[in-house]
Symmetry: C2
Subunit: 355 residues, 2 copies
């Protein structure tokens, strides 16, 4: 469909859709933040989900006093397989969507062009455009949460691969004798370093009678509990976060040898654990550097960046998806100040959801 544009239509809305929450971000043409909102996702049916997305959009605009007609575009990050050219969501397990033409449906209902992208790829665009301190042209954003996936910027462009599968590093085999993965394989990275794997290892240690503070945690153990215990010096927890960090460090090494990126940004629920998450990764890199001059050259620690929890890559990414859909608008030279970034509330409890 066709949309008319005028000089007064200069607002961009980003919408990050998760299985439990919808987060929005309204910015102007200078990427200045004007409104942001988080609402629950209704996943009772695809129609109900679309309604809750539309509702979140209207509420965000209302709180900023911006009419719908002043939006240039809406970008949406979707947790699933998306054909970004057609706006069709092929599969989104957590939304229970299969072959939903959400781009066309929302564009028609709202009268505003809506552009869709997979959530990790959207977040990668968000990091590239709005949290790219080194102005890197080759960058990987690695999301570590319920699953593990990398989004890739190659020579300044989002790279999706031939079948939309580029960056699916969660299913790289890191241990031939490792646990069975949901994909059917054995020892995939996700079975040793994703949130549910960290929680599983903790449950196994507690069940085996390990002397650990984790045995006194109320309710089901989460990855967040494990990192909190590791930060307090709990040896069992440290052993688990050590396994996860070592395997992730190896996968990142592989990613660097394959892509030779200038910058890897780590985000997602598990990465929110901060230093307790990052240190085991750095320790494994240091061990590699100690034995190999090539590793010294390739595994530079200033190449790794932990995304601050105050920067919500999801909504900034959705904004970037919207501007990518409108070639006339580019924020490349209007990166927001850190003050603006901090204004965006972190989406809490992702770590809990990731385990």
């Amino acid at each position: 469909m066709q949309f008319e544009h005028s000089a007064t239509q200069r607002w961009i809305l980003g919408v990050d859709i998760g299985g439990t929450k919808i987060a929005t971000l309204l910015v102007d043409a200078n990427a200045a933040v004007h409104s942001t909102l988080t609402l629950p996702t209704d996943i009772s049916s695809p129609q109900a989900t679309l309604d809750s997305i539309e509702n979140a959009i209207h509420q965000t605009l209302r709180s900023a006093g911006v009419p719908l007609g002043s939006l240039s575009a809406i970008g949406l990050g979707i947790p699933g397989q998306v054909d970004s050219r057609t706006g069709v969501v092929k599969h989104a397990v957590n939304l229970r969507w299969h072959d939903v033409a959400a781009g066309e449906l929302l564009s028609t209902r709202l009268g505003v062009p809506c552009f869709l992208e997979n959530d990790v790829r959207a977040a990668t665009l968000g990091v590239y455009r709005f949290y790219n301190r080194q102005s890197a042209h080759n960058l990987a954003y690695v999301s570590i949460g319920t699953g593990i996936a990398a989004g890739l910027i190659i020579e300044g462009e989002l790279y999706r691969g031939s079948h939309n599968m580029a960056g699916e590093i969660g299913h790289i085999q890191v241990d031939v004798h490792g646990p069975r993965c949901a994909c059917g394989g054995r020892g995939c990275l996700e079975t040793l370093a994703a949130g549910p794997a960290i929680a599983r290892m903790a449950r196994e240690r507690v069940a085996a009678g390990a002397g650990t503070s984790l045995s006194s945690v109320a309710g089901p153990l989460t990855a967040r509990d494990v990192y909190a215990a590791a930060a307090q010096g709990d040896e069992t927890a440290r052993s688990i976060t050590g396994i996860a960090g070592t395997q992730l460090a190896r996968a990142l090494h592989m990613l660097i040898m394959a892509y030779d990126v200038e910058c890897i940004v780590l985000g997602g629920g598990v990465a929110h654990a901060g230093a307790a998450f990052l240190q085991p990764v750095l320790d494994e890199w240091q061990a590699r550097r100690d034995e190999s001059p090539l590793a010294q050259m390739m595994l530079k620690t200033d190449l790794l960046h932990l995304l601050p929890t105050t920067f919500h890559a999801g909504v900034w990414g959705a904004v970037a998806v919207a501007t990518n859909g409108l070639p006339a608008i580019s924020f490349k030279h209007h990166a927001p100040s850190i003050a603006n970034v901090a204004f965006v509330p972190p989406i809490a409890s992702e770590l809990g959801a990731a385990s």
Copy 2:
């Protein structure tokens, strides 16, 4: 420097420079083969090597009756680290070159623009332009010889990485407990799947008294000997080629999960062993496919192509490097027929050199 061009200057010369041989290929504007030549490389000094390159160029032109002034450009594939923008060879161990401004030197001496590229990347361009049966836009060429490296085409463009290191998969760790590598690391892919590793494993088995036909091979054992014995059913040789194939298959799986390429072309001296080389790789992929639906989707066997020994990727790649340097000339729609390809003699004994 500046060069004048005219309609009569319509020849392209590709030069593939190895540590022992220089191979050339002269083609016209339709990529039809007019002359090809192989001469020894004089590596007694950088000056002597440049002289032998110049001599190979003159001899090739003389045999075709083409004057030097009719060349539009010369492309050169160099076994080492090359800055393709400046034509400076930073390191080429087998040529004993360090910081040789070969592009400028040869361009000045010959009065023809000379463009340089790393040999694996040049071969990748050659495969992409002249042996791309599926018209893939995302393609990896993996060279398995003395070392192992991948050249990468991403969305139709050669991708070199941020530090010219993209595709250095020979130093991905495939076995934490594997042999020590020349890079200082442990269990790098090269220590288990490159030519010297295959020869080393054979020597170790023979020294340990294994009952194998390899113990009666005259002279130092090579990877070629091992593949020949494996093809004859020798169990020790098959065990070794099985290890090499399994590890290579895992690294290729990783490459696919990271890049989601449409096509992987396998070449280099070790790959010249043909079916004896390829079968263990396919066997490991089949094992992965048997246990995982995701692997079934990603590890399609028609994605793997063994480069025919009659197609010399090195010289075709050098031709592609020359045309890449001249944006006005494009062979994209003038791929040579297989008859032309077969006309290029295979460079023999690369397998021997690789072990």
